[in-house]
């Protein structure tokens, strides 16, 4: 019995390691390449580990493109985008679930229906609207669409529906207004859902490609994905530079993910205690 268990364990870890290798090999290749000189790129047989590692590719990333500026732009846009999504979506979800108003059902159905329309359909008119509002090459052109995220509203409505109205009664008796109830009673109870929405929105905005590509054409305004894209346009064969840029663009989002993972665990615990 014990021997069978050991065998199972060996099998499990063998497969786990194999999957990990498949997942990580492209990243290994990226890091290895980023440490090579231009000449070593085309050396045959290929060098799995660079024979003369150098940081020259990283230097080139910073000198050829305002990479730090791009990182700053990405942070500014992503943080604003995520915050606005969380606030706007949770406020709308609060109205849909905790306030009675006419056409509430119809409006919510419109939200759901809008999720069916692929973003490509609105691409051209949205471009025209942004152009008319003279917002092209400004941060708001990429940030403002976060006001309306039907998916976020839907997710939070599902969550807020499960919160009994009794929870609000005590606050109401204490004379709290609608806004205070939303902030003090409802939001804390939705923390786990808010954390999920926060991570997915952050990722979506950080990695977004097509919409920023259309909106931000000035070098100074570009996000990290656009910076990488334009590096690719200029130095398509210098893979050491491209790989160094790719690695640099990945580090912040991985850090945010790891932090958010640990935070959301804490959050769900707190929510549970308060509930």
């Amino acid at each position: 019995m014990n021997r069978k268990k050991t065998l199972h364990n060996i099998g499990f870890y063998a497969i786990a390691v194999l999957v990990s290798i498949v997942v990580l090999i492209p990243f290994f290749w990226m890091i290895s390449t980023s440490l090579k000189s231009k000449g070593a790129l085309m050396a045959l047989p290929i060098q799995w580990i660079p024979e003369n590692p150098t940081f020259s590719a990283y230097e080139k990333v910073f000198t050829r493109f305002p990479f730090m500026r791009a990182a700053f732009n990405s942070f500014l846009i992503t943080v604003s985008y995520t915050l606005i999504t969380l606030i706007s979506a949770s406020m709308a979800a609060f109205a849909f679930t905790k306030i009675k108003f006419p056409f509430s059902n119809g409006l919510f159905k419109m939200y759901i229906a809008s999720m069916m329309i692929p973003t490509q359909v609105t691409l051209i008119p949205l471009f025209i609207i942004m152009n008319k509002m003279e917002l092209i090459n400004t941060y708001p052109s990429v940030i403002l669409p976060s006001l309306f995220k039907a998916f976020g509203v839907f997710l939070l409505v599902q969550n807020m529906r499960t919160i009994p109205d009794d929870f609000m009664e005590a606050a109401k008796i204490d004379g709290a207004g609608k806004f205070k109830i939303y902030r003090i009673v409802i939001l804390p109870l939705c923390l786990p859902t808010l954390a999920t929405l926060c991570i997915t929105t952050f990722m979506e905005s950080w990695n977004d490609y097509l919409w920023p590509l259309l909106m931000l054409t000035e070098k100074k305004k570009m996000t990290l994905t656009l910076a990488l894209n334009s590096l690719n346009g200029q130095y398509a064969t210098e893979y050491n530079v491209l790989m160094a840029g790719s690695l640099l663009s990945m580090i912040p989002i991985i850090l945010v993910y790891i932090i958010a993972q640990t935070q959301s665990k804490k959050g769900s615990l707190e929510g549970g205690v308060k509930g």
């Binding site: 499990f12 870890y13 497969i15 786990a16 999957v19 990990s20 997942v23 090999i25 492209p26 990243f27 290749w29 990226m30 790129l41 045959l44 290929i46 799995w48 606005i84 606030i87 979506a89 709308a92 109205a95 306030i99 108003f101 409006l107 809008s114 069916m116 329309i117 692929p118 490509q120 359909v121 609105t122 051209i124 008119p125 949205l126 471009f127 609207i129 669409p145 006001l147 309306f148 039907a150 609608k178 806004f179 950080w206 990695n207 490609y209 097509l210 990290l224 994905t225 990488l228 894209n229 690719n232 893979y239 790989m243 840029g245 790719s246 663009s249 990945m250 989002i253 991985i254 993972q261």
Partner: protein
């Protein structure tokens, strides 16, 4: 009278909560959708200023739709997408089921594996495409080098009409399997443990338990993955744009790539808008069919 007043006040209190979201919906969803319908009925080139006048002047009815559906390109692009789907969906489902099974065992190291398998999901498509373009390089890439170790001469992935699409599928499966894998893990975790106890008592083996209990009870999660994967497949774009630009010889041209090029490179806005509505219709029909078919194979616990 008092009551009416109160419900009126109640309704009015919803306004500030709804305002940001509804303003956003009008400007970034509703209005663009309406404009998009109109543009798709014109041969507007995006250069003449847009107004009701220009749209009326350029009105050509369903001309764009007729041209697209009557031409050869649309069907070829659709065929390319189907080729992608046929390869991508089974591969990504099997890979993510495998990952979910691994993660669900709850053995030591699961927390690390969760993060490792999610790194490709966190990577932007721009970075992932660049990495894969280099991994797939026929001469200097690591994949063909690995294949050579076991005696296989790898193809010229991205410059071969036959292999370019499978290469994009490979990169997409690699990037998406962590996402679906983690989603299926939570599906697995929610399966009632008593089913397994009953199976053990009945003396059912591992494989039988998997096919008779795990898989049927996981079908709601698998169904969700299938719907998402299919919608994603039709919106395939950045990896194509960066890895092949639709080439070689149009072998990886897909819907969104066409919409982007017609709209913003060739300035055939009307044509591109019509193309995007056809994309919507295809996604809509396929999702509806899936919703209908699910009754046949998805088991919801009651």
């Amino acid at each position: 009278m008092m009551k009416k007043n109160r419900s009126l006040r109640e309704a009015a209190s919803a306004i500030p909560f709804l305002l940001p979201s509804v303003v956003g919906m009008i400007f970034f969803s509703l209005l663009p959708i309406v404009i998009s319908v109109f543009i798709s009925l014109t041969d507007w080139d995006g250069l003449a200023a847009l107004s009701l006048g220009t749209l009326a002047e350029r009105f050509i009815g369903f001309g764009n739709y007729q041209n697209i559906l009557g031409g050869e390109e649309f069907w070829r692009v659709l065929k390319n997408t189907c080729y992608y789907i046929v390869l991508y969906i089974p591969l990504v489902l099997i890979a993510s089921l495998g990952i979910a099974t691994l993660l669900n065992k709850g053995k030591k190291g699961t927390a690390v594996m969760r993060i490792l398998y999610y790194i490709p999901v966190l990577t932007s498509w721009v970075a992932a495409s660049l990495i894969w373009k280099w991994v797939l390089s026929s001469q200097y890439g690591i994949l063909n080098q690995l294949l050579a170790l076991i005696g296989i001469k790898g193809p010229e992935w991205l410059t071969s009409e036959i292999w370019a699409m499978p290469a994009i599928v490979l990169a997409s499966v690699w990037k998406d399997m962590g996402f679906f894998g983690l989603f299926l893990t939570s599906g697995l975790a929610s399966i009632d443990k008593t089913y397994y106890e009953a199976a053990t008592v009945d003396g059912a083996g591992r494989i039988k338990t998997f096919f008779k209990i795990t898989l049927p009870l996981l079908t709601p999660s698998i169904f969700f993955c299938l719907v998402m994967a299919l919608i994603n497949a039709f919106q395939l774009f950045p990896q194509v744009m960066i890895m092949t630009e639709g080439g070689p010889n149009g072998a990886t041209q897909v819907m969104v790539e066409r919409i982007y090029n017609y709209g913003f490179r060739y300035f055939k806005m009307g044509y591109a808008a019509a193309f995007s509505w056809l994309l919507f219709i295809i996604i809509f029909i396929l999702t509806s069919i899936q919703m209908k078919l699910q009754k046949g194979w998805v088991h919801y616990e009651s």
